[in-house]
């Protein structure tokens, strides 16, 4: 919203457009929550630019694009300037930037030579002075203009400032200068004066009858007939004001209408009464399939969601609260108008706008909330403004004021407890203080009982309905900076949960292993999951930005593979990445399935690399209840002969699969454009972080010597080493304290399809030195157990 300082000054003396004052006002606006995004200064004096008379012009034989102009700046001396514009002749008065002038764009006017002849300054266009958009020629002034005078003084242009405000949704009133002025005046302790708004002596009664058909959407619709109009240009000050506010001047009628909107936040519309069918208005919902060509010459296709203004013959002439119809536009020959000033229900406009994809200055205001009781002032202000260019304007008696059930009540109030105000804001305000803060912004205060203030709520603040809304207004005008600062500490003390601490430990272990953290996109393209081997459904986004981001990942693997491919394409091979993040799959619950996952990918590494990472994590996090095992069935997406599952829990029924480890299937790698092998670890981090490892307890170590025995078994490739090891560990008994696979061998002496697994067993008793018999017994038990598991002693 553009707010103009000179306009604000009509409501209260906010002061001149000097740097200090502009800064003070901007700080005040910010303190009120009317955030100043930008400030533009206009019309500031330009020292050195003065009026001068053209004495004569002269061409130079060697200069085609410039000519020589001789001027008199009122001091009798003849000055010579080179000039690239040719629109002046002897006798004209023009702006001369004398030597040493700094132009608004920062240009420094210095003595410049062309063809060896110096120039004593520069003649200026309107654009160069920052006053209009005419850059084609030098600004020409009336020939009786006094010479040597500062240009801005001669033009009557005063320094001004435009504040660009970023308004929050709860301040619809500030979409007009009045609302901003009211807040700012209250803050600065100035009293507010309303600009003159007189209907004048009313003419004979003339009516443009109004019928509100759909009262749920239109709360109030007034029509006022005005005659004696001569459509013309607006006075310069109105045009200047509209231009500063970013609107194009059209004619005196439309400009008055727009000015009322920008000043009082009341959109309105003037219809040519002679062109208004039946001379009356009907406000009704559009029928599905109905259409209307709006002022911007675009045909709009409507539904029952949209509200129409129709003429007496029920023909659509405007989209209520959004934009007039092309057929109802004021023409050059218009002499009599019917002025619409209405109140439309905000939510309805708010739904119509996105559906039609049509936003306007009017709709922006109506969908936020316009003052339903500002109508009379707006009609009078419109007449006041139009009368400046139409002295013969007559406002006729007989204003129609149709109202419906959706019009908010004119009296609203809420009860505010003074104790509540002081407790929430940590202040000590009295009833008097509260009234002092609220009354200047239109809230009325009375006291029905001690400690209670009954606050009447202004009609232009639809956002304010309850006690807490009033407390916010009190806080705002008391000043957030005037509220003290204190700190409350949690009685329980803070901290990370054990699982959150363990998540950090997981990251630290991985970083220590040289794996870096990536954050690939959570959105995937359709087909990405399938290319990664996923079977089954995916979760999709209803309104994706682009189709390539329409699927939510069901696994972290596709995103990480894309990251590897990206790095490969930038000549970075062998990257090791991990991600901790959520994955999503379709589910039957209130929400889709969602779980936290850890995925590690090691480019250029084979499957055992991922097993090493897993073992480091397992040891560091104390995940002793987990184990690797051969999968019951092949895990899709992983290398079919290089994969294992991560099991959690003990016993057949208590064991669950919480992840997998291995290598990415070469065909999947191809699908993602990855050329290196990729070792991968993919685990359900949520399940693993939930593991609360027991606190390790000290055990006395044995004082007796230990004995080692080595056993090598021939084991078919179909039997997992983990199976052999657990057979040994289960059968070894109390004397077996440690088992380690220390060699794997394939080749001569071992049948095809098998390998030799060599284990070192350490035996020890805490009570005595072991005998040969003890060792032999354990050895035999282990050999027997391994035989049952499918291993033959070598």
């Amino acid at each position: 919203m553009k707010i103009i300082l000179s306009w604000l000054n009509e409501f209260a003396p906010f002061g001149p457009a000097t740097d200090d004052n502009i800064e003070r006002l901007a700080a005040s606006l910010n303190s009120l929550g009317l955030a100043v995004e930008d400030i533009t200064r206009t019309g500031a004096p330009i020292p050195g630019v003065v009026t001068a008379r053209v004495l004569r012009t002269e061409r130079h034989p060697d200069a085609a694009k410039v000519h020589r102009v001789y001027v008199d700046a009122g001091d009798g001396a003849e000055r010579h300037v080179w000039c690239g514009a040719f629109n002046m002749s002897a006798g004209d008065v023009v702006p001369l930037a004398t030597l040493g002038t700094v132009m608004p764009d920062g240009r420094d006017i210095q003595k410049r030579k062309i063809l060896g002849i110096a120039s004593d300054g520069m003649l200026c266009s309107g654009t160069e002075l920052g006053i209009d958009d005419d850059a084609d020629g030098i600004l020409l002034l009336p020939s009786d203009t006094p010479l040597g005078r500062p240009i801005m003084e001669v033009l009557g242009v005063e320094a001004d400032a435009v504040f660009e405000l970023d308004l929050t949704r709860n301040r619809p009133d500030c979409w007009g200068h009045l609302g901003v002025a009211r807040d700012l005046a209250a803050w600065l302790g100035l009293s507010l004066t309303m600009p003159r708004a007189e209907l004048g002596k009313l003419g004979e009664t003339r009516r443009a009858p109004v019928t509100i058909v759909d009262g749920d959407r239109c709360g109030r619709f007034t029509s006022t007939v005005m005659s004696g109009i001569r459509v013309a240009e607006s006075p310069a000050w109105i045009k200047g004001r509209l231009a500063l506010a970013g609107m194009r001047p059209i004619n005196n009628v439309v400009d008055a209408s727009n000015l009322v909107m920008l000043e009082l936040n009341q959109p309105n519309h003037a219809y040519d009464l002679d062109a208004l069918g039946g001379g009356a208005f009907r406000i009704r919902r559009a029928a599905d399939g109905e259409s209307l060509v709006t002022l911007d010459s675009i045909e709009r296709h409507l539904t029952r969601r949209d509200l129409l203004i129709c003429d007496g013959a029920d023909a659509p002439i405007g989209l209520a609260g959004i934009m007039g119809g092309l057929n109802s536009e004021i023409s050059g020959s218009t002499t009599t108008i019917a002025l619409e000033v209405a109140w439309f229900e905000a939510e309805g406009i708010g739904q119509s706008v996105p559906h039609l994809n049509l936003r306007s200055e009017a709709s922006a205001r109506f969908e936020r909330g316009v003052d339903p009781y500002g109508v009379d002032r707006s009609i009078a202000r419109f007449a006041e403004l139009l009368r400046e260019s139409c002295p013969s304007l007559v406002v006729h008696a007989g204003t129609q004021d149709a109202r419906s059930e959706s019009l908010p009540p004119d009296q609203r109030s809420t009860r505010v407890r003074i104790g509540r105000v002081n407790a929430l804001l940590a202040v000590t305000l009295t009833e008097h203080d509260i009234a002092r803060l609220l009354e200047p912004i239109g809230f009325g205060c009375s006291s029905p009982a001690p400690g209670i203030v009954e606050v009447s709520l202004p009609s232009w603040r639809p956002d304010c309905t309850s006690e807490i809304d009033v407390i916010e207004e009190v806080a705002r005008h008391h000043g957030y900076d005037n509220i003290p600062k204190s700190v409350r500490k949690s009685p329980r003390g803070g901290g990370l949960t054990p699982a959150q601490k363990r998540r950090r430990r997981v990251r630290d272990v991985l970083l220590g292993l040289g794996v870096s953290e990536a954050m690939p996109d959570v959105f995937l393209s359709p087909g990405d999951m399938e290319r990664a081997g996923h079977r089954g459904g995916v979760v999709t986004v209803t309104n994706p930005l682009v189709a390539e981001q329409s699927v939510l990942r069901g696994s972290l693997i596709p995103g990480l593979l894309k990251s590897i491919a990206y790095n490969e394409s930038h000549r970075a091979t062998g990257v090791a990445l991990f991600e901790v993040g959520h994955r999503y799959l379709p589910g039957d619950g209130v929400l889709p399935f969602e779980a936290e996952q850890l995925c590690v990918v090691l480019a250029g590494r084979e499957a055992p690399g991922a097993v090493e990472v897993w073992e480091e994590l397992r040891a560091a996090l104390g995940w002793t209840g987990t184990a690797l095992a051969a999968p019951d069935s092949t895990i899709p997406g992983l290398h079919p002969t290089r994969q294992a599952v991560v099991m959690l829990g003990a016993g057949r029924s208590g064991r669950t699969v919480v992840g997998s480890v291995g290598e990415v299937d070469p065909s999947v790698l191809g699908g993602f454009g990855v050329t290196e092998r990729v070792a991968v670890l993919d685990v359900d981090l949520g399940a693993l972080l939930a593991i609360d490892p027991p606190v390790p307890q000290f055990s006395v170590f044995s004082r007796y010597p230990s004995s080692d025995i080595d056993l090598a078994f021939v084991v078919a490739d179909s039997v997992a080493a983990a199976t052999i090891q657990s057979a040994i560990e289960r059968s070894g008994g109390a004397l077996l304290v440690h088992t380690e696979l220390f060699d794997t061998y394939r080749g001569v002496g071992v049948p095809e399809g098998s390998r030799s697994l060599a284990y070192r067993l350490r035996l020890q008793s805490s009570e005595r030195t072991l005998t040969d018999t003890d060792v032999a017994e354990v050895r035999q038990r282990c050999i027997d157990a391994v035989a049952k598991a499918g291993g033959t002693l070598r």
Partner: protein, 333 residues
């Protein structure tokens, strides 16, 4: 006999001094000082001397000779050991600067680094860390936060919807505020939590916006919590996170779930301002929707972006760089 002692001593001393290795030294010592060595064998002949005086004199001389040879042997032994050590050291020389290689440590994502620093600061201020799902129900993301269906303030967020349940009922959370609602509906006050997490908006990525980014939001609900506690907590956070030269300021603003609402800005030591986030007193409607009596309890909430903190802290000029997963970027931090 004295002459004999002298000559053996001289020979022994020469042999010891001439030893060029520990082995030859040992042999020389054995030859002269050993049980059957030349000097020891002279001891046996002392008894054959005539007078006590003579025995004393010769014995003294012999002991002196033995001591001299032993001392010389020790001296020679030390010299030989030093030579050997010197030789070993020379042969074992390593230029350790040959062994420098690129460290293999991994690099945490910038967002994680900022996230954990923020968590640590809030833990220090007495907060716990709350978490919640990224796919949310409309109720937790909007309705519980004082935005009933079709509330105009919902347009403050460009929402991404998920195909699940009734159309429009499931969203990718637009902020981490639904975690606050979940905490309030499941925990009894007093509540002091921060909720860091991933959030989603239907916005095209550019240098300063990502459709997926990260926020941290705080929530306090306790008896007698006031706006002053909000302002003080923001100030305490500012000092703890940015440093003692930084201060904070609150400006009125609007959010549907807080009232009074504010934006909070951080003032840098050089006087410039950083607009950081939004905050306010928890709206009574939000407390009530979450089953907390707003007459008994009050609270405040605040929130801001984590990505932007990382961007500012490390001078990253384009947010998209942080999500490129380019190892050349990752390894810089």
């Amino acid at each position: 006999m004295i002459d004999e002692i002298n000559s053996i001593r001289t020979a022994a001393m020469d042999a010891v001094r001439a030893a060029t290795s520990v082995e030859s030294l040992d042999a020389a010592v054995a030859d002269h000082l050993g049980k059957r060595g030349s000097l020891a064998s002279l001891k046996t002949r002392l008894g054959s001397l005539a007078t006590v005086e003579e025995k004393k004199a010769v014995g003294q001389r012999l002991n002196d000779a033995i001591a001299d040879v032993a001392a010389a042997a020790e001296e020679r032994r030390n010299a030989l050991a030093a030579d050997e050590r010197a030789l070993q050291l020379v042969s074992e020389r390593l230029d350790l600067t040959e062994f420098r290689r690129r460290p293999s440590r991994g690099h945490a994502h910038l967002v994680t680094q900022a996230w954990e620093r923020l968590e640590d600061v809030f833990v220090g201020l007495g907060f716990s860390i709350a978490e919640g799902p990224e796919i949310e129900t409309d109720w937790y993301n909007f309705e519980a936060l004082n935005m009933p269906p079709s509330h105009p303030a919902r347009s403050m967020w460009d929402t991404l919807f998920v195909d699940h349940g009734a159309p429009g009922s499931t969203v990718l959370r637009t902020h981490t505020s639904p975690v606050q609602a979940r905490v309030m509906t499941t925990q009894e006050p007093p509540i002091y939590v921060v909720a860091p997490g991933r959030v989603f908006r239907n916005e095209t990525a550019d240098a300063t916006h990502m459709p997926v980014f990260h926020q941290i939001e705080g929530l306090v609900v306790d008896r007698g919590i006031s706006f002053a506690d909000l302002a003080g907590t923001i100030e305490a956070f500012t000092h703890a996170f940015f440093g003692p030269g930084f201060t904070s300021r609150l400006r009125p603003s609007f959010f549907p779930f807080t009232e009074p609402s504010a934006e909070f800005d951080i003032r840098r030591p050089d006087g410039s301002w950083l607009e950081l986030g939004g905050c306010g007193m928890v709206h009574p409607n939000v407390l009530a929707a979450c089953g907390i009596d707003p007459e008994e309890w009050s609270g405040f909430a605040f929130g801001f972006g984590i990505d932007r903190m990382a961007k500012e802290y490390h001078g990253v000029d384009d947010l998209r760089e942080m999500y490129s997963n380019d190892i050349r970027f990752i390894e810089q931090f």
